[in-house]
Symmetry: C2
Amino acid sequence: MVEKGLLIVLSGPSGVGKGTVRKEIFSQKNTSFEYSISMTTRSPRAGEVDGVDYFFKSREEFEALIEQGKLLEYAEFVGNYYGTPVDYVRETTLKGKDVFLEIEVEGAKQVREKFPDGLFIFLSPPSLSELKNRIVTRGTESEEIINNRMNVAREEIEMMHLYDYVVENDTVENACEKIKAIIVAEHCRRERVEPKYKKMLEVN
Amino acid sequence: MVEKGLLIVLSGPSGVGKGTVRKEIFSQKNTSFEYSISMTTRSPRAGEVDGVDYFFKSREEFEALIEQGKLLEYAEFVGNYYGTPVDYVRETTLKGKDVFLEIEVEGAKQVREKFPDGLFIFLSPPSLSELKNRIVTRGTESEEIINNRMNVAREEIEMMHLYDYVVENDTVENACEKIKAIIVAEHCRRERVEPKYKKMLEVN
């Protein structure tokens, strides 16, 4: 019997740096889990590659996949769809491998309902003002969009109670170290390893 | 308000290597927690130092401390008392520092009853036969004592359900890494950090 892999969900407010943290984690050699690439209808940003950062789809294609039940979760966010293809997640965890999702908070809520045993990590800004600074620094958004995002962020921080862990993104390095520690720790949880030991006692 | 420190309890069967793992953890520079030295009535082994490895006490002294309620936990094990002075643990966690205990399983059971919020880590042998090898290799015990210890170990592994985490002591390095990861992860648990974020939302 293969032990089922973990479903690891990294989420948090828009602009907090989920993508940067996820990329740093996967750039390191000693990661043992698989990244599940999201699907989106938004346009690629400079440097983003289809099939690496996201699967970029048209609105029509995305809505067809929703109807076919092919998405584990999806959300409309600032006028675009984001979602996670379900087959990949199911097949990979059944093979005993951990799957890592980096998704928006609305999507994480849907996954929590379907996979309550998942490992839900909330990436949080060191402070709300810090969050605002980061969005402004990115320099591509109007003040109205920034204010809207700030309100969304307040709501999202209030959604923290749906998560198992909260990791402050003070630096990318610290956040990565904590996330990796959480995954190691979660594999040591007694409920996960006890059956193996019970079997050992029977054999000896 | 200072956030209360964690009470971290490392335990596991006799001979599994709790002391070696604990020493390795505390020999590393980046430990942020305090080690609570146990008290015992057993004789020091070669190289063990009073006040470093244990506080070595006579049976009479130990029993007097039990009567005065000065022990968080104590147990009689293979004819000797082992115990944890309570004042140090209480004062250190109230100051916001984590305290690390390395104790026998009977003692861990008592601590769990008194500090249910503690972080309980069970150090387990890779297999029972491996446990036996280690006790034989130590080479100082009769066959009768070894067999008794094996029976005790079976019982102790069955006590695993009282723990939050199980760490296999396959190598000292792996076990230390996992224990440190568990402590990092535990500090990120949502129940522990949520109040801080709720406060941040009020202020902004």
